[in-house]
């Protein structure tokens, strides 16, 4: 295997073994392919100028860089504008490892001869690459073989690499497309690991739904930073995509005028939900509940209830739908049935005969710890939140949101600032 670092600083020789200059960089094209071909190499001539030599005139790269033609016959390479310079833009930079879902640093780039041309095969992000750069690889190799072990190699295939520190919008888009396929929690972690500017540039380019999902998984300060970078109309669209409880949490961290402005831009229905949630303190059941839950009116049969759910917008917004709640005409909670029991019941049975009529409930101002305690005690997946005076159902607290209150997620363990 050939590595970029083995070429650095080497002499370039022409067909008559005359030195032409010092190797500087490799230019590759078609970086969206799994094996991007080397288009040219850049070298520094003795008078300090840069000279590009097309790959077609290369005879070999290792052990020495050798051309097929004499120096005076070398045709200069004219850049097409889409080349990626490996030493300048890839080596030592941070990239996203799509397969490993993490941000890593490029210690070296692996090149290989594929048929008649050189191309990139992968990037070395492991200790072996570091040792090679430090010139310690042979020594480490000797020690390792003495110990009957092999040096751990970590080469990521180019297909799984997303270069991100790039000014070229096209390449950034390719990387973004790769990254946006990952689960939202991983995207959030990756953007958080990247430096601020790059992370925000990537986030801005994600589509609204991905961005909304990703924001839900991000720590509060990252949410605020990314959202405040977007034009207000787009920010409002993203808030609509988010679960109302998450959107409310985010808006609570923004300055009051901004919150008002964004709420005005949101669609009335979504904005209303969020406004209602914003009224409750963050550490209460009201503060962590979601207003999107599946319910049916009383007086239906099982068949009718299932039919009702299929057409209900609220039910389709419910993220998990562990339970179906039965409400009367004034939205007062009558009872609850698990979706499982509803699906398994005979279709013609009136739903009233199946529901649990005295479910455990919390009030909006019940502390989130109490809600978590009740969920744990009664082994629930979600607990309904009702108005204390009249029993009108407002929303549900799901087990994951309640758990967040008791066991802070890893994100919340962040120190202030960088660490």
């Amino acid at each position: 295997m050939l590595y970029l670092s083995q070429l650095q600083g080497k002499q370039v020789w022409d067909a008559w073994s005359e030195p032409l200059g010092k190797f500087q960089d490799v230019l590759v094209g078609n970086v969206d392919q799994p094996f991007p071909p080397v288009r040219a190499i850049a070298m520094e001539t003795p008078d300090g100028a840069e000279r590009l030599i097309p790959a077609s005139q290369l005879s070999g790269l290792f052990p020495s860089i050798l051309l097929k033609v004499p120096g005076e016959e070398v045709q200069p390479y004219t850049p097409k504008g889409d080349e990626l310079r490996l030493v300048d833009r890839v080596l030592d930079r941070q990239i996203v490892d799509i397969d490993g879902r993490r941000v890593v640093r490029v210690n070296d780039v692996q090149l290989a001869r594929l048929r008649d041309q050189f191309c990139i095969t992968g990037v070395d992000v492991g200790g072996q690459g570091l040792l090679r750069r430090l010139g310690l690889e042979p020594m480490a190799q000797a020690v390792a073989s003495r110990l009957k072990r092999r040096l751990p190699a970590q080469v990521i295939p180019w297909e799984d690499v997303a270069p991100v520190q790039d000014t070229d919008p096209l390449r950034l888009r390719i990387s973004r497309d790769k990254i946006s396929q990952l689960p939202p929690a991983d995207i959030a972690a990756i953007l958080n690991d990247l430096d601020r500017r790059t992370g925000e540039a990537l986030a801005r380019g994600l589509d609204n739904e991905t961005l909304a999902d990703m924001l839900e998984e991000s720590p509060a300060d990252v949410q605020v930073n990314i959202l405040s970078q977007l034009p207000p109309e787009r920010a409002a669209d993203i808030l609509e995509e988010m679960d109302p409880d998450e959107a409310a949490d985010l808006l609570a961290d923004l300055p009051p005028q901004t919150t008002e402005h964004l709420l005005d831009l949101m669609e009335d229905e979504d904005a209303e939900d969020v406004r209602a949630l914003l009224a409750y303190p963050e550490d209460t059941a009201g503060g962590i509940m979601t207003t999107e839950f599946a319910y049916v009116p009383s007086g239906l049969t099982v068949r009718e209830a299932l039919e009702y759910l299929r057409n209900s917008e609220d039910a389709s917004d419910d993220e998990v739908m562990y339970y179906v709640y039965v409400l009367d005409s004034a939205d007062v909670l009558q009872g609850v049935i698990s979706l499982r029991d509803l699906v398994m019941a005979p279709p013609d049975k009136p739903i009233e005969e199946l529901i649990e009529t005295d479910p455990v409930v919390v009030y909006p101002l019940t502390s989130q710890n109490e809600a978590a305690y009740l969920i744990a005690k009664y082994n629930l997946l979600a607990i309904p939140v009702v108005e204390e005076e009249n029993g009108v159902m407002l929303g549900i607290v799901t087990v994951d949101d309640a758990l967040d209150a008791v066991l802070p997620t890893a994100w919340k363990k962040r120190l202030p600032r960088f660490f």
Partner: protein, 421 residues
């Protein structure tokens, strides 16, 4: 009426903006007066009287220039110092720079735990109990993520450094003489004096201060249009930190130097606060020292292992599980354990340990400083935000002068320059 309202609104918006941006500068500046800082200034004041005040004046300008450079790099690039060094200079230079950073910060962490030992011994507690306890506490607090709450408590403890300011006014030192010494340079050519000069530089302008400043500005994401505010924060912070430092020198000079006590222990250093607190001076001193030591001991090992892992691309940060970020956690624990063990070596003199570690800091500083100067003048990285001519002259001068002093230090035994007493 409407006009007045709009005006008021603007004033409050401005004020809020200032308060939101103020921060990293003040924190780094308070950290100037950490345990090794207090030790260094006490030593300098009690041994050389007011003679270090002019040096402090020069160092203040130096700190403003260097910290502002770091803050500007963070604001413009959004990246950490180690990140930029790696991308610009490659693996070999990075490895060398990180080794220097690691050594400097290890020394300073040792000094923080020495501060813990010295402070708790003033309360009559054995360091063999308190230092491991403090290390466990720091590790627990930071790894549990409750640092944010503890930071405030520790910052309040650090406020006791203010007692030097009050104390100085109660002593009524000869202000004319103080002012004269603050502007008239005086130099002495002996090894101890040179070490003391280096320590004073090294405890004020620190490698980790640069890294920390850049990281916190980068992480906050300062809008370049509002960059003036960050610059102000840095300047105010540096000046403020050094005003307190100057008062430590004045206090120790006016109480200890005049009676010929050159501070070698924490008991002696505490005597500088006696005019203010009488018999309680040792406790006041101990509380301040403890707060400052614990604050720095929490941040320092963490920022060090973060920077090293950032440079080499290893998983880092407290949101990673230890299994995924073995190097990060390993370095963090390693630095703490090594520091604790050093402090627990029987008979090791704590006070010299604290300030001598700062001389080492200064000796290692030029490595990072030169890299930073090169980075900040690279137009591809900084665009129009490169250094001004004054900033360049001053930064280079600082690096070169430290180098020269270091050379003088190492050849001074050969020249037969001995300590006079």
């Amino acid at each position: 009426m409407k006009r007045v309202q709009a005006g008021l609104k603007l004033v409050f918006a401005r004020l809020g903006m200032y308060l939101a941006i103020l921060g990293p500068g003040l924190i780094t500046a308070s950290a100037d007066n950490d345990a090794p800082g207090i030790a260094t200034y006490s030593m300098a004041g009690s041994t050389y009287g007011y003679r270090f005040l002019w040096l402090l004046l020069v160092i203040t300008v130096g700190e403003v220039v260097v910290q502002e450079t770091a803050g500007r790099m963070g604001a413009v690039t959004g990246k950490g110092t180690a990140d930029l060094i790696r991308e610009r200079f490659g693996v070999k230079v990075t490895a060398f720079a990180m080794l220097c950073l690691l050594l400097a910060n290890l020394g300073t962490t040792v000094a923080q735990f020495a501060g813990v030992a010295a402070a708790t011994e003033l309360f009559g507690l054995s360091r063999y109990i308190t230092v491991p306890l403090a290390a466990a506490l720091v590790g627990f607090v930071v790894l549990r993520g409750s640092y944010e709450h503890v930071e405030k408590v520790l910052l309040v403890l650090c406020l006791s450094a203010l007692s030097y300011v009050i104390s100085a006014f109660m002593i009524k030192p000869p202000w004319g003489e103080v002012l004269r010494q603050a502007v008239v340079p005086s130099i002495q050519f002996d090894t101890n004096f040179i070490l003391a000069v280096l320590a004073t530089i090294g405890t004020t302008i620190t490698p980790w201060g640069i890294i920390y400043m850049q990281a916190s500005v980068a992480d906050k994401g300062v809008d370049l249009q509002k960059y003036r505010l960050t610059r102000m924060d840095v300047t105010v912070g540096a000046v403020w930190g050094n005003v307190v430092s100057a008062f430590i020198i004045i206090c120790t000079a006016a109480t200890l130097y005049v009676v010929g006590i050159s501070v070698e222990t924490a008991e002696q250093a505490a005597m500088a606060l006696e005019p203010l607190a009488g018999v309680g001076a040792r406790y006041l001193f101990a509380i301040g020292l403890l707060g400052a030591s614990l604050l720095a001991a929490s941040v320092l090992p963490l920022s060090t292992s973060y920077a090293v892992c950032e440079a080499f691309g290893w998983e880092r940060g407290l949101n990673q599980r230890p299994r995924d970020a073995a190097v990060f956690y390993g370095l963090y624990i390693g630095i703490i354990v090594l520091s604790v063990l050093t402090v627990l070596i029987p008979g090791i003199p704590l006070f010299p340990l604290m300030w001598l570690s700062q001389s080492m800091n200064a000796i290692l500083l030029p490595v990072l400083l030169v890299l930073v100067i090169k980075l900040v003048n690279d137009r591809r990285i900084m665009g129009e935000w490169v250094n001004s001519r004054f900033q360049n002259i001053f930064s280079w001068a600082l690096a070169i002068i430290i180098l020269l002093i270091t050379v003088v230090l190492f050849i001074s035994p050969l020249l037969g320059m001995q300590a006079p007493g």
